[in-house]
């Protein structure tokens, strides 16, 4: 089991009715996407054609920040607030959609953008799955 799974399993109270499996997948997708976007921004910065990648870098940086915050909010269960969780997940899905679309445009030329686009797609899907599960 991953550490994310272990931490969910050892939380001392119940998880407020949230689907544990979907929650775990979404936290893990947020962590992965935070790092992929941080790394992709930096890889774009090292490309000779950086001037054509400035929108990609900016979207990467936003997506990294939003995914990082979402992973943190989802890692807290005390005083659970479904309304706030949903609102943060909506912002995260929007950030991942924007970044996934932007990176996908550079995916044939830059492998880091291809990898990053895939992480964004996974994270967007995980956020939408969890939103649905919140009811």
């Amino acid at each position: 089991m991953t550490v994310v799974g272990q931490m969910l399993e050892t939380y001392p109270k119940d998880l407020g009715g949230v689907d544990r499996q979907k929650l775990q997948e979404c936290i893990e997708a947020c962590l992965e996407c935070t790092q992929a976007c941080t790394a992709c921004a930096d890889a774009c910065l090292s490309e000779d054609m950086v001037a054509e990648l400035t929108t990609c870098i900016r979207t990467n940086l936003d997506c990294a920040d939003v995914c990082s915050t979402t992973g943190r909010v989802l890692s807290r269960h005390t005083g659970y607030d479904a309304n706030l969780t949903r609102s943060v997940l909506e912002a995260c899905a929007a950030a991942c959609k924007a970044c996934g679309d932007e990176c996908a445009q550079h995916a044939e030329m830059h492998e880091h953008c291809r990898n990053c686009a895939e992480s964004c797609r996974r994270c967007e899907a995980a956020c939408r799955e969890l939103i649905s599960a919140l009811g």
Copy 2:
């Protein structure tokens, strides 16, 4: 002029049509609220009655993270994406509303909660002002 104002003034391109004054106020409110919530969570942790403040601490931590990310997203103008900005601002207003409401319940007993609630109210209002200005 504050440094936030100076940085907005020296941005080399236009700001995508966003109201500069409202943008500056919202960035400054996000910075202030990030710190107030981080400090309030820690002050609650040092109260003898911490067991009655756990929901407040959790909401403080979420609000600090969301405000921090919002302040970063709003500090970027390259490749501006109104949809993402609006989505992040909605999540920030929701986090500030939740934290402001929670802290307000402890405001008579704990001055740090009163100060923090006021920062949350200011930040929520600044987010809603900016959402309206985005059109």
Copy 3:
């Protein structure tokens, strides 16, 4: 291969002479520890004996923030600065040591503290390994 590994492999320039395997392990340990500490702070907050865990929560929050920043700094290779990398790794090792020691004191009573202490130990070791590899 993990996405961290994929992003390292697809970085378009060389990594400034840093050991790629140790770098990958350290980034992954930072991500894991950020999440474990965030979750452990929240799990402590939900324990009936929260009043005895306030130092643990505070140390968790610091460690989460320092590990998150370290994982980001290590994910950037453009304009590599060995001095800054080392300084950030030293702070991360110190945060992981402090949090690992604190959580270890509660490990018999709280499984989340035991899991978190193990993540802190791994991350501290990975930071020290990478500091050594920097020469």
Copy 4:
């Protein structure tokens, strides 16, 4: 009084012997520098000569992350750990030194780099003042 000052004043326990004035100045410098560096990275990204500013952008991003974490660590006083505080302040001074030096090289050409360099200098000085005050 600023909200940072209000939050320090309403902390319910003592501050572990740390000089309150220097602590407040350092927290405020960290907040200002976090935002200035985030905005400077984005302003550099929008310059036509972005290809010559990639090291500046990278250093900005590191400095923003390190200052953000330092501001958070300094905003917590529960279970104060002088060793960890010092280690984080050392990393912050190093990040501000690196970023201030880099931005200063572009200060004549780019006003945002000049403003950002000044924020970095102030934050580096505030960190060193506080390190000295820790004894």
